[in-house]
């Protein structure tokens, strides 16, 4: 990936500097701030999901539902969802800026990233907020333990 273009800047032209919000600067700062927070969130997430107990083999609806019923994990997951997607989306935007030279391709790719990020954030948020850990009619053995208790 490091030997891509031999003679760029042809012809030499830098886009005039736009006014308004400086995405580059805030994007840059955001990457760092979110990065620090994400470390905690993601490492915590991975630890709980993969390391505690039987790790990945223990993952199932019951496990997830159990976590999502807890407001603590709900906040955790929501924050992680937003931070990570925007972080990743902004990172991908950087890549597109770097490697997609044609204006049109650039536009399309960035729109695609934006679309994916927005859709997934909305979807994810909805899931977390509207999630019902004990959906009616589901086989009880798949549900978290507390569903039976109530």
């Amino acid at each position: 990936m490091t030997t891509t273009i031999e003679a760029p800047r042809s012809p030499y032209s830098r886009a005039p500097r736009g006014r308004g919000v400086n995405w580059e600067k805030w994007g840059w700062i955001y990457m760092r701030v979110s990065g620090v927070v994400l470390i905690v969130l993601i490492f915590g997430h991975l630890f709980v999901n993969l390391m505690v107990g039987e790790g990945v083999s223990a993952l199932n609806f019951g496990f997830v539902a159990g976590k999502l019923a807890d407001p603590f994990w709900r906040v955790w997951d929501i924050v992680m969802l937003w931070l990570a997607l925007i972080h990743g989306g902004n990172g991908m935007r950087t890549l597109v800026n770097d490697y997609a030279t044609a204006r049109l391709t650039r536009g399309i790719l960035k729109l695609a990233i934006l679309g994916a990020v927005v859709v997934l954030i909305v979807l994810g948020t909805l899931v977390v907020f509207t999630f019902d850990p004990c959906p009616a009619g589901a086989p009880t053995d798949l549900l978290p333990l507390f569903c039976q208790a109530s």
């Binding site: 273009i5 760029p8 042809s10 030499y12 830098r14 886009a15 500097r17 600067k25 840059w28």
Partner: protein, 252 residues
Amino acid sequence: MSTATIDQPAAPEAIESFTVTLIIRRFDPEVDDEPRWQDFDVEMFPTDRILDALHKIKWEQDGSLSFRRSCAHGVCGSDAMRINGRNRLACKTLIKDLDVTKPVYVEAIKGLPLEKDLIVDMEPFFESFKEVQPFLMASSKPADGKERIQTVAQRARFDDTTKCILCAACTSSCPVFWTDGQYFGPAAIVNAHRFIFDSRDENAAVRLDILNDKEGVWRCRTTFNCTEACPRGIQVTQAIAEVKQAIMRGKP
């Protein structure tokens, strides 16, 4: 009294010469569609420089080999090129510091339009340099017609970046610059840094604004290729980081 001869290199007794193979990436715009690699064997001493090898080729084998050079000791910035895959000045790269059991690859710096052999078009590079307003801007002149006062510490603040010789080794080693060449590039930022942190200058804000741009400092991904490549040992990445800080603070 006879005139002294100072023909011998200074190093001690009978240093042996050996054959070095240079593989040079040639491109003659009037003939070639694409660059091509060409081998040359030259007899060299360990204390010779790559520039000497190129001269030897040009002067004894193929006069059409084209490259820029002037001072021959690393102060004019003419001969940045890629030697064994890294940007260096040919006049500061000693044969003995390379592994000459293998051929030495020499090619033009990357990211600027190739003109001929080892020569690239430097205009885009100098355009970026000019864009950062690389000159002192200070409205007041000292009343007594004397120098402006600057303390030793204030002078030291920007010492590192005054050393730049505009050789482009840094900018053309930067992976971000290679991608589309729109990035201002480390050299321009280094030269902006030189003035942003000069206590006598009053226009830091303007330069910070220029570099607070889509193609400005934020494109730097701290890959350190620039710092590694700089023949003047300038801490380029550090300088860029300082400019980023200054932009965030809003002042130097």
